[in-house]
Symmetry: C2
Subunit: 382 residues, 2 copies
């Protein structure tokens, strides 16, 4: 089997945000479209990034209207601004939503058309302008991934866009920036990173290289998500979670994901609910379903999640792991059911149809039918 692995150049460390300007200079950029969101702006990080661009003599234009679960309109508006202002590079500063919009804008300004044209795998044919991504959450992994997820409101669908071209030129990961996240966002995004690591590790497209990153991400997150959620100022825990999120990103970018994300995208396209929380609710149910597809890998996951050494049986270890994950989610106050987060009268049949078509479902380790997905949604519901 021939496998491929791609990663951006990575700049990692406290205050790395101050290297944005010189990094763009190195890429030959002169006028940067900065894509960000109001929360990140309020925390002051957008301004820090912009000031760094100014200090290095670079011009910029700010598009700061990204929302959670961003839709096609944000891509259209961001791309229009890029063209009006004659930008030549894109900076994303924010959570997964801002980075995904930044990437989608980069697609449109170089490849034309509408973002819907690029849904699916490998649809991008012209090179993108230089891109730098600065994550302000430890969760999405978008700063290193070949993914962008954008909602098509007409079809009520989260579109998964996958392409090598979407791996940014440079990922600048600054753990210091994570100190302004509240505990709910820390918990939800951290559980998202865990779901990336686990789905990538059991993916049918996993490779020795993605395994290394998935397992290390899971180890770091298992040890650090509780303390990181507990304290704004525990910088050591933030550093570990930033590294965990990035390595989980390297893993899933190259091994793709599975049913958790396929189902989560199906929910997120129809309902305005936070991606990380949805994933963390779905994850244990999907793990139970997938367990027989890869008992040895789920046993390893169990070992890492702290499933005590009381058994040598792989299936048992796998089940301990799922239990340990539920404990972790409970300890940091994550919701347990879809109902609890506000899903009302969901049409599980339609959502299951959408989930089955998602690009992430292809790499799920266990064969999945429409009935399976509906049953999993029901289990996660209440």
């Amino acid at each position: 089997m021939i496998t491929k692995f791609m990663a951006p150049e990575i700049i990692f460390g406290d205050h790395a945000i101050h290297q944005i300007g010189e990094s763009f200079l190195r890429l030959g950029a002169q006028r940067i479209l900065v894509v960000s969101d109001p929360g990140v702006k309020a925390a002051g990080w957008t301004e820090q990034a912009v000031n760094n661009l100014k200090e290095t003599g670079l011009a910029h234009t700010l598009y700061e209207k990204v929302t959670t679960n961003p839709g096609t309109d944000q891509v259209i508006n961001g791309a229009a601004l890029y063209r009006e202002e004659k930008c030549d590079a894109v900076l994303g500063v924010g959570g997964g939503s801002a980075l995904d919009v930044a990437k989608a804008v980069a697609i449109i300004v170089s490849n034309g058309g509408a973002i819907e044209d690029y849904e699916g795998v490998d649809r991008i044919h012209s090179p993108l302008p230089p891109t730098i991504m600065v994550p302000t959450t430890a969760g999405s992994g978008s700063e290193v991934s070949q993914f962008s997820i954008i909602i098509d409101p007409k079809r009520k669908k989260k579109m998964t866009i996958v392409s090598k071209s979407l791996v940014p030129d440079i990922a600048i990961v600054d753990p210091f920036v994570l100190m302004t996240k509240d505990h709910l966002l820390t918990a939800a995004t951290g559980l998202d990173a865990i779901s990336h690591a686990i789905e990538a590790y059991v993916s049918v497209a996993a490779t020795p290289l993605t395994d290394v990153h998935a397992l290390n991400a899971l180890k770091l997150a298992a040890a650090n998500l509780r303390p990181s959620t507990a304290s704004h100022t525990n910088l050591e825990a933030k550093r570990s979670m930033a590294m965990a999120s990035m390595q989980a990103g390297l893993a899933f970018s190259n091994a793709i994901l599975g049913a958790v994300h396929a189902m989560s995208h199906a929910i997120g396209g129809r309902y305005e609910l936070p991606h990380g929380e949805i994933n963390s609710i779905l994850l244990p149910h999907v793990m139970e379903f997938n367990l027989i597809a890869s008992p040895s890998r789920f046993a390893e996951i169990g070992d890492i999640l702290g499933a005590a050494g009381s058994t040598e049986n792989e299936m048992e270890k796998g089940r301990f792991g799922i239990r340990a994950l539920r404990s972790l989610a409970g300890d940091i106050g994550a919701p347990k059911t879809l109902k609890e987060v506000g899903l009302n009268n969901p049409d599980f049949h339609k959502m299951a149809e959408t989930a089955l078509e998602d690009a992430c479902m292809v790499t799920n380790p266990r064969d999945v039918t429409l009935q399976d997905v509906e049953a999993l949604f029901l289990k996660a519901y209440e």
Copy 2:
């Protein structure tokens, strides 16, 4: 601390060599300078690469005169050929020597001057033409690294050239290609990969990302170098050694190396001796010297090398590790002393002076004096 990490796009797997042409097409190249060596040509791999270029409609010119420990003349000749034939991209097919010459040629044709101008760290300022590297040994890691090592015969010196620009665009790693290596080359290059993993792991510039790759490389090599040396046709062992070598390359490319390589470069600049064997002779002596700088890391190395669980003392584990490494080298028939490989009347004082100036010495975990280096050379001598 802010750390940086760079990796090329990686295509890994049996028969990946057949993806060279389409990869160059993707990079927009049309006429490829193929840099290779007579041994690789004799084994048929150069022709396979060239045929693949032809099949994809790409023109090529062949420079196949690379030798072990290549000098500046090969860079000059390769660059002249590139210009004469109006090439626009460079392919390296071979061991570390061929890949290092290919990279050095890529520097000269895009940045001008002589290769001596680029000795040291970060001296390359213009972008290189597209480069793809296909290793035919599991050892150098040059296919993923930001290093090129070229001998300056005037100064009798191995020049270490380090630059982000030297990370190839694409590394194509085909374990199948390793089946034509003889057991001596398999052993020597495998021990070189081990020295990369160990030096990167204890380097003062090690980071969590380089650690992951260094440890995984060491695990793979510890388990697979014996069987890979024992059998031409053990493809499973070749796959693991190819992955070990590449991951060791990712580790040392970003964490740099230490005294083993600084000293080995000092020998290689003056004497025509194989790099891998020299490293494997020096490695246990340097480990003994470095042990007090990082007992915990050497203890981990000891655990991986199979240092039995009889002790919990870190220094003891470290010493067990060094012993286990000597056993491994002995089992695969590696030489034990510099005298044995043909070093005659060496001027250790001059060599120690050269070693102290090498870029690799900067990241050695223990402070090193001229006297230390001379003493280490003497220990390794007989």
